[in-house]
């Protein structure tokens, strides 16, 4: 793995030059970006794919230059000119030598491409899981993500927190991918290629980002009406941030007497059938765990920012942001919505 990484970085310098010449790519910045470009890798699997992709681009680019050049030459050189349309050009029916040449060369190219590709497939897919790895179970739902940290006893949704991995203390995140309903696909382009979440067919993938920050992605397998709003946010934390986040997530909901009315509404309405708030009677598992809702930046799997106004609109009718979301509009009165909002605001 170490070797592969150094390979790809030297290759990526080569390709930076190449890419600028064809003007195809935005600036290759290290670290997280708002644009989830596959050409801004920030984790080993994404790096290795990037290096390979540049190699393939160079080969295919050369093929294109040669063949398109030939074709252009032929079009210009051999277009009919003048009035001698009466005379047909000499008829040539074929040539075995020429055919042989343009069969053998592509065969050689395929051999090279295949061997290079296979090396990276094995390097990424069969990389052994180190003992220090953080294990996360990712469960795809229509239309949100459930993240479970079995060893840390944490359940959260839509926003994955993992620690930055360093060269000295590598701590890759190993994701175990499951689905609760239909097919989904976990794709955060800067961190790794995508892997599908398929019911009855568990999959695995891994990430080891170096630069802390927020990495964006989204579901990449059509999964129903709100597939477009099944966004992923991966927070890569510094070790200290991650420790603090874990500590907070492991706490149970704090009893806040000011929000007692809201809690009462929450627990007597249908909310508890689908949502969990640890330490209360709410044990539903159909929707996202709300124990630490306020620690998340977005609601509705990224459909809206987690602000009081948005949360109120969401509780009133999730269709405001996400028509087709499986959470129904509960026909609550304005007062009930206010009380629930007050209660949810205490779930830090």
């Amino acid at each position: 793995m170490q070797q592969g990484r150094s390979h790809s970085s030297s290759r990526s310098r080569l390709c930076t030059v190449f890419m600028f010449t064809i003007g195809a790519v935005p600036a290759l910045a290290e670290g997280p970006q708002a644009t989830p470009s596959i050409f801004a890798p920030a984790s080993t699997p994404a790096h290795e794919i990037y290096g390979l992709s540049i190699f393939v681009l160079l080969i295919t680019g050369s093929i294109f230059a040669v063949v398109a050049g030939l074709l252009t030459y032929v079009i210009i050189r051999f277009r009919a000119r003048g009035p001698d349309a009466e005379h047909e050009p000499p008829q040539i029916y074929g040539s075995t030598q020429v055919e042989l040449a343009w069969t053998v060369i592509p065969v050689l190219i395929v051999v090279v491409l295949f061997l290079t590709t296979a090396r990276i497939i094995f390097a990424i897919q069969d990389a052994p899981e180190p003992k220090s790895a953080l294990e996360v179970t990712v469960i795809g739902h229509q239309f949100w993500w459930e993240f479970r940290y079995p060893k840390l006893n944490i359940v959260t949704a839509n926003e994955l927190h993992i620690p930055a991995s360093t060269r000295d203390a590598p701590q890759p995140a190993y994701l175990h991918l499951l689905s609760a309903d239909v097919d989904h696909s976990f794709w955060v382009p800067q961190l790794a290629g995508k892997t599908d979440l398929i019911p009855n067919h568990p999959n695995d993938m891994w990430l080891d980002p170096r630069q802390p920050g927020l990495y964006l992605g989204q579901c990449a397998q059509f999964c129903g009406i709100e597939h477009a709003k099944m966004l992923i946010r991966v927070y890569v934390d510094t070790p200290q941030q991650f420790k603090a986040w874990v500590k907070n997530q492991q706490q149970i909901g704090v009893e806040d007497s000011a929000a007692a009315a809201g809690r009462q509404v929450f627990e007597t309405q249908a909310c508890v059938n689908c949502h969990t708030v640890v330490g209360t009677p709410a044990h539903g598992t159909f929707g996202p765990d709300l124990t630490h809702l306020m620690s998340r930046a977005t609601i509705g799997a990224g459909a809206a920012a987690n602000t009081p106004e948005n949360l109120r609109a969401w509780i009133h009718d999730p269709g405001t942001f996400k028509p087709g979301a499986l959470m129904p509009a509960m026909q609550l009165t304005d007062q009930q919505v206010d009380e629930i909002l007050a209660y949810l605001s205490t779930l830090h």
């Binding site: 681009l57 050009p89 055919e99 069969d126 790794a192």
Partner: protein, 562 residues
Amino acid sequence: MADQTLPIPGSLRATPSRGAALLEWLHGWVVTVDHKKLGILYVVYAIFFLLVAGAEALAMRIQLAVPHNHFLGPETYNEFFTMHGTTMVFLVGMPILFGFANYLVPLMVGARDMAFPRLNAFSFWLTAFGGLLLYFSFVGGFGLYGMGAAPDVSWWAYAPLTAKAFSPGHNTDYWALSLIVMGFGTLGAAINTLATAFSMRCRGMTLFRMPLFVWLMVVTSGLTLITITPLTAAQIMLTIDRYLGGHFFDTQAGGSATVWMHFFWIFGHPEVYVLILPAFGIASEVIPVFSRKAIFGYPVMVAASVGIAFVSVTVWAHHMFTIGMTSVSNSFFVLSTMMVGIPTGIKIFNWIATMWGGKIRFATPMLFATAFLFQFLIAGLTGIMLSVAPWDWQLHNSYFVIAHFHYTLTGSFVFCIFAAIYYWYPKATGRMLSERLGKWHFWLFLIGFHITFDTMHFVGILGMPRSIYTYEADRGWNTLNMIISAGGLVQGIAVLVFAWNLIHSYLHGKVAGNDPWDAWTLEWSTPSPPPVYNFAADPVVRSRRPLWDIKHPNDPDWKYEQ
């Protein structure tokens, strides 16, 4: 015969009233078993649905032109992209290729009709009514969101999204049933094409003297028999799941989502070649005639086509690199997919060699065929990129894939179809299509195509997945999406120019004569349009270019062909 029902203007015979004449004319088209009329029916049907599915695409592009747009809701968008894909493959691509096969294969092999004329009519009407069944869902389908629900599970319809639990109502059933119906129509057409090419050839036309177009139709038809079968089986299994308590794909009862994927792509990937091989056939007719040279390396072209067909049935799981196959399986499908590039590359080189040393006339058919060569080259190279499994883990289901397969299906298949229509329209109607409108059509479509689909590669690289009805404003995709949509509009205008050309030239076009392009295959020896019986006397051929032999008696092909 049923065909001679058009009242002859100025005839002394008593003509029936206008209404009766119209009715008789219509009746003639409905009951016809003539391969030429059925061919035209297929093509007209396909062009109609090309306009419909094109309109769906434009509506999607309006929705995606800006982020968080409300032009189409998620329900409608999902219906439109499902229907756009399904329509373009099954109601445009397949019918138009079998339309051309119907019209041209008998003429090119010197036969008077297809081998099974009644099966031919049956196949067409199955296809036609299958398409109507699919589109009836917009009116009568009952889905998750009430009446008037078209299928909305995407055209690859992965299980278990199609299970009753996730797709209640009937819209998925419209999808499955109409594909079963159309599938049988397609199988009939494929069998008919094979039988015609194998047993109806005129005297002297050995297999290796068949025009390449006929060869490619033979390969396509064979591949159709292989691919439509698993698709039909899968649709029947899906219907059993939905109505008879089967559990093939029903994951909640232990079924397998991946089994559907295998069934679908063992159909779906060769299907791409079913569509592109006829395009190769068209290019192999148009390029020699407009370069004024015999096709370079005919036997190699035949071998490469058969080779592509064989390799293409071993590559299906390259659509499934992200589903978690083993590294060995992934490597196998990388290799098999890359191998398709070898015979395909050979074909491109042979076309270039055909043009080399020729006197190329850039009439509209040749313009489209030349653009096809460029675009197919790029489509092939992006195909190589996608075959690199690790890179595919990034590119799969992104707009890069959309760009790639539109390069093959629009940039290659549709461009060749346009070339074919400009090339053979004079034969079918007796009139030339307007060259002036044709040039407008070509350049507008070319420019619009590149604006749209070149840009899609980049937005895919920037991480935009397919099948989303809207996107976030901060992802850096806004400008690119606006450009893509603008290009779509230009293509729409080009297609309208084309439609106008078809109608206008039918009424006012220049009279074509038998052989307007100075071409070499048998269909050009008949009047335009050909009589019902095609050939007054059975033709006899001695080479691959019978009309060349007649035009150049001192220098005939049969002296030189290997």
